[in-house]
Symmetry: C3
Subunit: 275 residues, 3 copies
C-alpha cells in the first residue's frame, strides 16, 4: 500500500488534518473536504483506507462545518475496492477474511447512512464499484464530464453493496438500475445525470471552479436548517437502509467465498501480472 504523494496529485493544501495516510482532510469556509489520496493507485480503497474514511466521516459529523464533501485526488475519483484486500489472507483463513471484510463494509456504509449533514460528492474522474454504489447515499453528486460510473459486480462474481440494491432502483427505476447492477453497464457522466444518479455535470475544464463557487454558497446557508432538513429526508428510510446494508453484506460474505468470485479475482491478477 502506497500513500506517498504521487506526481499526478493536483491538490497540495497544507491544512491537512493529522493522522491520515490515505486521505487528505481539511476544513475551510464551513466545508469539510475528505479527499481520497492514493492517486497513483487510482484511489482504490484498502482496508486501512476504509478505516480512515470511517474516522474522517465521524469527525466531520461532529465538527463545525455546514457541509461535507468527498472527492478524489488525481485523475480518478475512486477505482473501488482494492483487490489486494483479497490477497492478505489472515491466520483464520479466507472465512475469517470474508467475515472481517463484511463487518468492515457494513460499518463503513452505516456511517454514510447515518451522516447528519448534507454530504456532497465531487466526482473528479472515473468511479468504480463501491465508490459508485455509495453515491446513492449522497445528497448531491456533481461530476466532471470526464467521469464514468461502473459497477462490475457480476463480472467479479460479486453482488451490489452500498445500499445500491435499494437506492438505485429508487433513483432510476429497476430497468435502468439492473443494467448497471446486474449487467455491468458503464455510464458516462451525461447518462448518469439523465438516469438521476448525478445531480449535474460540468465541463472538465471548469469543473472544480464552478463546483466550489457553488459549494461555498451552500456552506453559508443556515446550518441547522440544512442538517435538520437532511435528517428529515433521510429519517424516513434510515431503518430500511440499515436493513438493506446488512443483507448486502451477508450476501457479499457468501460471494467472497464462492468459486465464481475466487476465479474472477484470480483472473484479474493473472491478467495484471501479464501487463
Amino acid at each position: 500500500v502506497s500513500s506517498e504523494p504521487s506526481s499526478k496529485a493536483k491538490d497540495t493544501t497544507s491544512e491537512s488534518k493529522q493522522g491520515y495516510e490515505t486521505l487528505q482532510v481539511t476544513t475551510t469556509d464551513n466545508i469539510t473536504k475528505i479527499m481520497l489520496n492514493r492517486p497513483d493507485k487510482k484511489n482504490a480503497i484498502t482496508t486501512q483506507m476504509y478505516r480512515e474514511i470511517i474516522q474522517a466521516v465521524e469527525e466531520a459529523a461532529k465538527d463545525d462545518s455546514v457541509i461535507t464533501v468527498v472527492t478524489g485526488n488525481g485523475d480518478y475519483y475512486c477505482s473501488g475496492n482494492d483487490l489486494n484486500n483479497f490477497t492478505n489472507i489472515p491466520s483464520g483463513g479466507i472465512e475469517k477474511m470474508a467475515k472481517d471484510g463484511a463487518v468492515l463494509l457494513e460499518d463503513f456504509v452505516s456511517h454514510f447512512i447515518d451522516f447528519p449533514k448534507p454530504l456532497i460528492a465531487v466526482v473528479n474522474g472515473p468511479a468504480v464499484g463501491i465508490s459508485v454504489t455509495l453515491l446513492g447515499l449522497f445528497d448531491i453528486v456533481y461530476a466532471t464530464d470526464r467521469a464514468t460510473f461502473h459497477t462490475p459486480f457480476s463480472e467479479l462474481g460479486q453482488s451490489p453493496e452500498g445500499c445500491s440494491s435499494y437506492m438505485f432502483p429508487k433513483i432510476m427505476g429497476l430497468p435502468k438500475a439492473n443494467e448497471m447492477l446486474l449487467f455491468n453497464r458503464k455510464l458516462t457522466a451525461r447518462e448518469a445525470c439523465t438516469w438521476g444518479l448525478v445531480t449535474e455535470v460540468f465541463p472538465d475544464k471548469t469543473f472544480e471552479k464552478e463546483v466550489w463557487i457553488r459549494l461555498k454558497a451552500y456552506a453559508n446557508l443556515p446550518k441547522n436548517s440544512l442538517a435538520l432538513s437532511k435528517q428529515l429526508i433521510r429519517g424516513v428510510e434510515k431503518e430500511m437502509l440499515h436493513k438493506v446494508n446488512c443483507q448486502e453484506c451477508e450476501r457479499l460474505k457468501e460471494r467472497w467465498l464462492s468459486d465464481e468470485c475466487m476465479n474472477a479475482v484470480l483472473k484479474f491478477f493473472e491478467k495484471k501480472s501479464k501487463l
Copy 2:
C-alpha cells in the same frame, strides 16, 4: 388580506360557489376547479386561505365531479405561504403561533393525501414553497412553460413540507431532490418535467386551451374506475404519507421558533420595506 378582483385576473367565471373569499370554486362538465384567487398577492396562502382550501377540497371530494383541478388566478400559480402569517402573533405568543401553524399545515396536507379522486394541478405560472411541495401529492401536473418551481426552505431557515421529503426523492431521486429541497435550486418548467415533477409542459400561448381540452376528455372517462384506480395507487403509501406529514410539521414547528427562521423572516420584511 385582499380578495378584491385584481386587474391581472384573467378568469371571471360567474358560477363561483358561495362563501369563499380567497378562492373561486366552480363545477362544470364533471370538473371541479379550485382557483386560488388573490392574484394581486401572487396567490400567497394566508391562514384564511388554508382553511378555505381545506373546505373546498372536502366539498370536491364529495361532489359529483369526476376530476378536481387546482390552478391560480393571474400571473402566478402560487407564491407559497404568506409570510404575513408570521406577523399575526396571537395572545399565546409565538409558541402558540407555531403550534397552531403546524396543526393547520398538517390538516391541510392530510386533505391532499386522502383526496379520493384524480387531482390535477394546472400550473399557470411561477410556483413557490408549499405550492410546489404539494405537487408530489397530485396525480397529474400540467405546466405552462412560463412556470418555475422554487422551494427556498433553507434560505428561510425552514424545512420541507407537503410530504416532499418523501415524494420528491421518490419522483426524481435523492441527488436531484436535494438540490431543490436543501439548496433552493429554482427549476424551469422544462427541468421540472425532465426531473419528473411535471407531467407535461405547454407553450404559454396555448396552455389553457390545450390543457382544458384534455381535462374535459378525462372527465368523460368512467368515474368509479378513475376514483378506485387512484385510491389503489395512493392506498399503498397512504399510511407512510401521513407519518411523513406529521414528522415534517413537527420539525417545522421547531424551525419556526428558531433564530435562523426568525432572522430570515425579519430580513425578508426589511428588504421588502426598503422597496
Copy 3:
C-alpha cells in the same frame, strides 16, 4: 383460440419444448426464451395462455439457464388480456368468472414477483395492458423503436394490475405514471425509455440482432452471482409486491362486475362486429 403458425410468424426454431399450444419455449446458450405465440391474435393472452406462461416461468426458474427472456412472435409484443376471456361465462355466472379470473391473475403475477433469475423483456412491437404493467417486474426491458406502451384501464372501466400501481410511480414518479395508469396515455418507445420503463430502444431494423448479441454476452456471466444479486434487489420489496398484487386483483374482481366495465367490454365487441 388459434395456435396454428401464422403467416406473420418470424421465428420457427425447431427446439420448442413440448406441450405448449400458445407459446414457443426454447433453451439455447444458457438462455430460456418464452415466446408468446399467437401472432394472428397479436399475442392476446387467453386463459389457457396465462396458465401456460405460469408453467413456462416455473420451468425456467428451475432449469439450467442463466437468464430468461420473454418476447412475442410476429408484429406485436402482446395486445394484453384477450377480451374473449369475458365471454366464456362459466356455470357459476359472472361472479364465478370474476373470482376465477382474479385468482388466476394473482397467481400469474406472483410468478413474476418471485422469479429468481434475471428476467428480460424483448419488446418486439406494440404492448398493451397486462403486458405493459408486468414490465415493471422485469429486470431489463429492451424495445424496438416500433413498440408502443398502452394501458387503457379506465377506458375499459378497469384498474391497474401487474403491480403497476406500485412499480410505475416508483419508476417514473406519480405525475408521469398516472398519465398512463389513469388517463390511458400511449407512450412511444422513446418516451417509455425517457420515463424509465424501458432500459434501451433500438432501431427496428437491427433490433433482434443487437439485442441477442447482448443477451448472449449476459448469459456468459457468473450464474449464481446474477441470480443472487437479482434476489437481493427484489428481496427488499417482495412482501410489498405480493400485498400490492393481492389488492390489485381484489379491486379488479369488483371492477369486472361493475356496469362501467361491462358496458365498455360490450362497446368493444359492438365496434369490432361492425368492422
